[in-house]
Each structure stands twice: as structure tokens, then as C-alpha cells.
């Protein structure tokens, strides 16, 4: 199969599978789902060598080049995200197959939505068109929020509603920005727009074109910060991620919030690459630093295990924002870029694993509270081990993928003597160690003898075994996030394809102060 077709099929195959899942009789719904889980890695295995060998792949749909038509585009970063969807999404789906059986009545709605979510994510990562991205964002938000509400408990519904309102608002802000950009520059292509944006935005101060372009960029940025739950626009995330069913939480934290970060990269490192973005980069980095500190501290004081993990997502997303200031220095840029890619991937694997592990622990112990985890070391060894391993990657201990990511970012910060960013990176790792330790410590406590007044049944204090289909995907993901540090060459090779202009091998483009 030609690699172009593989690129398009990464979006179209899950769409087709979603339609088939709607159509299929209940007993056969699993077939399109499993088919998609298998098809995505296969398609990526076809696409990856073509991109790594032949460079960025661009596909003009219906043969119409932009601005007339829509381009699909696969470079290293897109490929990285696609792999993450296939791996994290796949592992989470295995766990979800158990918790939401396709043959159940709800499965007839849950699984098509899951597949549409995957299709939307893939569509977003390969799209080169701002409006097409809007439609993909809507598809992702709608299906993700519906999956959060799948449980139907009051808290999940509240969280879903709050998320939905903010997502709608963000989408409209995004669309307003797109409207301004299209009116100014006549194109919707992310990469074609770069020339116009550089010309208009780099022009003399206070021209209308400059004002409109910069406002459009700011509107889109705010919208994406909200989608990416970057501090202080994170307020919707902890409840939404903590209240969703376990496998859904995994996908939300590993993939859905990453869409905002990914698009911020596209916007500021590609579309707006021609502008002097130093101030914006510092601002985004500052927000990221605040997110690292705030998210970690908040994770330290949570009572529910899933909320610890959710706040940890707030913190870890902060690291991804630190890239903006760090790629400013041409010498440090390649390292910072590699670090960002590693962090995207490592966090995607580790966080999906951690949420799955947390869900398995909650299921096994019968409660989501940390003080009810006592004794989990005996009854839930696999889940707890997976949680710990994922935690190793989040803290950034060698040899994990998280270590590599943080090391590369630290090195980039060191090269430009950016002490503040270095301090944030180190502090974040320290705090991550603390909140992961807090969960583990709670689990290794020997359960107290049943208190005389305790209403909880004896079984829940001891824990019950959880099916392997819940704990094993968590373990595999956590192991992958650690092993990634040992086998990172393919990833770095991939990231080197089509890096942002400011990072790329062309020094003439990268020399902005």
C-alpha cells in the first residue's frame, strides 16, 4: 500500500469502523473495534519508514492543492502523536473492552464514540488546515465528553457539562481567530499562512494587518490553552479526568489534552515561525512553570487517587510549555525539541498507564481514597507495580523516557544559562517524586484491624483481585514508558523529520534572539 493511502486511512479506517460498529449486531461489535486496534499500528508501520526515509509527506485530498483543497501532512511530530494514539489508545481500549463490553446495550454507543475519538485525534494530528482542525477538535471534544458522561453519576455529568461549556467557548474563540486569519490571508493552510503571518506580523507596528494577525493568533492561543488545560485554564481538567471511566481517563490525559499542546506547537513554531515570538515564548513558558508547580502541589494534597493523577497531568503539561522559551536559542533548540517530543511520548505512555493502574486499584480496593489503599501491595501487586513504574517515568528517573525528556530539556536550559527553567524542571521532578511516593506509601501500609465502627465490608479493606485485562495494559504501558529511554533512537530519528523552522538544520532561520 502506498504510504499516502496509509496516511489517509489512519483517519478513514476508524471512521469506517465506527459506522460498522453502529451497524453491526451486538454480538459482532467487537470486530470493527479490534480491527481498528490492529489496523492503526499496521498503517503506521507502512507510513513511518516512508516518512523517515523520504521526509515530510504531504497529501492533497481530491488532488486539489491548498488553498483550494485540504492537505494531510505527516512529519516527525505528527508521526509521534499517531503512534501515541495507536499505543496508548490501543492499550486503554483493551482495558475498556472489559469494563464496557461491546455487546452490552451501552456498548452500541460507547464503542462507536471511542472509534470516532480515535479518528478525530488522528485527523487532528495529520491535518494541515486550520478549519479542518476545527472540525476535528469538535469531533474529539464531543466524543470525549460523551465518554466522560458514560458513567452517568452526578459528578461525572457535572464535570462533563463544565468541560463542554468551556470547550464550546474555546472552539468559538478558535473559530474567530481562524476567521480573522482567513480574511487577512485568504488561506486556511497552517504552513501556507506562515508567509503571510510573517509579512503582516513583522510589519511596522500598529498597522491594521499586524493588529488583526496578532489578535487572531492570541485568540487561537487562548482557545488552545483552554483545550490543553494549561494553568490557569486547567480548572475543568481534574474533575473531568477523575470522574471519567478509567480507560477514558487514560485517553483523555494521554491524548486529548495533548491536542491543544500539539496545535500550540504547530501555531507558534510553524505558522508564526516568522515572527519575533520571544515575549510569547516567555509567557507560555511562564504559564508552564506555574502549571508544573501548582499542579504538583495540588497533586500532593488530593485525597482521591484519580485526582492525584489528574493534577499530575496539569503539572506534566507544564513541561511541554517550557519548550517555547527553550527553542529560542539556536544552539539549544534541537535538544529542546527532542526533549519536547520525548516528553509528549513518555507522558502519553506513562499517564495512560498510570490512569489504568489507578482505575484497577480503585476497582480492586473498592474505593478511590488514598487512605483505603492500605494493603494494596498484597492484593494488587501488578496494578501497584504499574503505578510505580509509570511514576518512575513521571519523576524522570533514569532510564525512563521521562528521564530522557527532562534531561534533554535540562541540557537545553543549561546551554542558555536559563537558571529559572532549570529550577522549575528540577522542582517539578522532586514534587512528582513526592506525590507518587505518597500513593505508594499509602498502599504499603498494613491495613489496620477492622475498626469496630467501620461500615465498609471486610472485603474492601483487603481488596479483591482485578482481571488481568485491567492491570496488564497498565503494566505494559508503564513498562513501555520506562523502556522507551533505552530504545530511543527510532523516536529521535522520527523527530528529526520536518522539525520546526527555528529548530531545523538551517541556521539562517533559527537565529532569532
Amino acid at each position: 500500500m502506498p504510504s499516502h493511502d496509509a496516511l489517509a486511512l489512519l483517519v478513514l479506517a476508524p471512521l469506517l469502523a465506527a459506522c460498522l460498529t453502529v451497524l453491526a449486531p451486538a454480538a459482532w461489535r467487537w470486530l470493527p473495534v479490534v480491527g481498528t486496534l490492529v489496523a492503526l499500528p499496521v498503517l503506521l508501520a507502512i507510513l513511518t519508514p516512508a516518512v523517515v526515509g523520504g521526509g515530510t509527506l504531504v497529501l492533497a485530498l481530491a488532488g486539489h492543492a491548498a488553498p483550494l483543497g485540504i492537505h494531510l501532512r505527516a512529519d516527525g511530530l505528527a508521526l509521534l502523536m499517531l503512534w501515541l494514539v495507536a499505543l496508548s489508545g490501543g492499550a486503554a481500549a483493551v482495558a475498556a473492552l472489559r469494563s464496557h463490553p461491546p455487546a452490552s446495550p451501552g456498548g452500541g454507543y460507547f464503542w462507536p464514540l471511542w472509534l470516532l475519538l480515535l479518528a478525530g485525534l488522528n485527523a487532528l494530528f495529520v491535518s494541515a488546515d486550520l478549519f479542518n482542525v476545527y472540525v476535528a477538535i469538535e469531533l474529539v471534544s464531543l466524543s470525549a465528553i460523551a465518554l466522560i458522561a458514560a458513567g452517568g453519576q452526578a459528578d461525572a455529568l457535572r464535570a462533563a457539562m463544565r468541560y463542554l461549556l468551556l470547550a464550546m467557548l474555546a472552539s468559538l474563540a478558535y473559530l474567530l481567530g481562524v476567521a480573522l486569519l482567513y480574511a487577512q490571508h485568504g488561506s486556511l493552510d497552517l504552513y501556507q499562512l506562515a508567509a503571510g503571518v510573517a509579512q503582516a506580523g513583522g510589519g511596522p507596528a500598529a498597522t491594521p494587518a499586524r493588529a488583526a494577525t496578532l489578535t487572531a493568533l492570541s485568540l487561537i492561543t487562548v482557545a488552545l490553552l483552554l483545550k490543553a488545560a494549561v494553568f490557569p485554564l486547567h480548572m475543568w481538567l481534574p474533575q473531568a479526568h477523575a470522574q471519567a471511566p478509567g480507560p477514558v481517563s487514560a485517553v483523555l490525559s494521554a491524548l486529548v489534552v495533548k491536542t491543544g499542546v500539539y496545535l500550540l506547537y504547530r501555531l507558534w513554531l510553524w505558522t508564526a515561525a516568522g515572527l519575533d515570538t520571544a515575549a510569547v515564548a516567555t509567557l507560555l513558558g511562564g504559564l508552564g512553570a506555574a502549571a508544573v508547580v501548582y499542579g504538583s502541589l495540588a497533586a500532593l494534597v488530593q485525597v482521591q487517587i484519580k485526582r492525584v493523577v489528574a493534577y499530575s497531568t496539569v503539572a506534566q503539561l507544564g513541561y511541554l510549555m517550557l519548550v517555547f522559551p527553550l527553542v529560542g536559542d539556536p544552539r539549544a533548540a534541537p535538544g529542546a525539541w527532542m526533549g519536547a517530543g520525548c516528553q509528549l511520548f513518555a507522558h502519553g505512555l506513562a499517564k495512560a498507564g498510570m490512569f489504568l493502574a489507578a482505575a484497577a486499584l480503585v476497582h480492586g480496593m473498592g474505593s478511590g481514597r488514598l487512605d483505603r489503599l492500605a494493603g494494596a501491595d498484597k492484593s494488587q501487586p501488578i496494578s501497584l507495580f504499574a503505578f510505580g513504574l509509570a511514576g518512575v517515568s513521571l519523576m524522570g528517573l533514569p532510564p525512563s523516557g521521562g528521564f530522557l525528556a527532562k534531561w534533554l530539556l535540562l541540557e537545553a536550559a543549561w546551554m542558555q544559562r536559563a537558571w529559572f527553567w532549570m529550577a522549575v524542571l528540577l522542582l517539578g521532578s522532586l514534587l512528582a517524586a513526592a506525590y507518587v511516593y505518597r500513593v505508594l506509601a499509602a498502599a504499603f501500609v498494613t491495613p489496620p484491624a477492622a475498626a469496630p465502627g467501620a461500615a465498609a465490608p471486610a472485603q474492601s479493606s483487603r481488596g479483591r483481585p482485578v482481571p488481568l485485562s485491567m492491570s496488564l495494559p497498565a503494566l505494559l504501558l508503564a513498562m513501555a514508558s520506562v523502556a522507551m529511554g533505552l530504545w530511543v533512537e527510532p523516536l529521535l530519528e522520527m523527530l528529526a523529520i520536518g522539525p520546526p523552522p527555528s529548530v531545523g538544520p538551517m541556521p539562517a532561520l533559527g537565529g532569532r534572539p
Binding site: V135, E138, L142, A154, A183, M235, Q304, R369
Partner: protein
């Protein structure tokens, strides 16, 4: 058609779009009832779409791409609204609530039912 599209009426609708967006933002923030918030969101969306077409048809010729985008936007908006209303319906049936504080930080930890002391 071109007579209708002279810059004067373009400016009028631009003004209208700006006003509608402002009113939408006001409504979104001031509304208490979720149905009202959704209504304001739809107004805001209409304003944005009106702006998209008005700005894109500079020079008097209507821009077919912007029209197609708005058509897509309309369908997306009605889809999201319909889903939101279904969610609201369920929320209301489960909790009796018709309002939500979208801007607040997450609420304090709900008590775990297993913790209820006799």
C-alpha cells in the same frame, strides 16, 4: 448582487457581528441557567459566523469558501447544542441542577459513600 455588497452594508453587518459577539459574551457570563448559557453560546456562534462571512467577502464578491465553512459551522453548532441539551437533561434528572459554575476551580472532594460513619 454587487449593488447589495457595497462596502456600506458590509460595514453594517460587521457592526452587527461585533455587537452580537459582545452580547453573546455578556450573556454567557451573566447567565445562570444552563439553557441560557447554551442560548448565549449559540448567539456568540452566530456572531462569529457572521463575522467570518462579512470579513471574507471583502471587495464585494461573496466568498464561497467562507459560505461552505459557515454551513459546516452551523451543522457542528447544532450537533454540539443538541448533545449539550441531552447532557443537561440527564444532569437535571440526576441532580435537579440547572446551573453550573463553569469558571470555578474544582469543588472540594465529595465524601466517599464508604466513609459515611454510622
Amino acid at each position: 448582487m454587487s449593488l447589495l455588497m457595497m462596502s456600506g452594508s458590509g460595514a453594517v453587518y460587521l457592526l452587527a457581528a461585533a455587537g452580537i459577539i459582545g452580547i453573546g459574551v455578556y450573556g454567557l457570563l451573566s447567565a445562570d441557567h444552563l439553557l441560557r448559557k447554551l442560548l448565549a453560546m449559540n448567539l456568540l456562534g452566530s456572531g462569529v459566523l457572521l463575522l467570518l462571512v462579512t470579513l471574507a467577502s471583502r471587495g464585494g464578491t461573496p466568498d464561497p469558501v467562507s459560505h461552505a465553512l459557515v454551513l459546516t459551522g452551523l451543522v457542528v453548532t447544532v450537533s454540539v447544542t443538541a448533545f449539550a441539551l441531552a447532557l443537561l437533561d440527564r444532569l437535571y434528572r440526576e441532580t435537579g441542577e440547572i446551573r453550573i459554575d463553569a469558571a470555578s476551580d474544582d469543588p472540594p472532594d465529595p465524601a466517599d459513600p464508604a466513609d459515611a460513619k454510622p
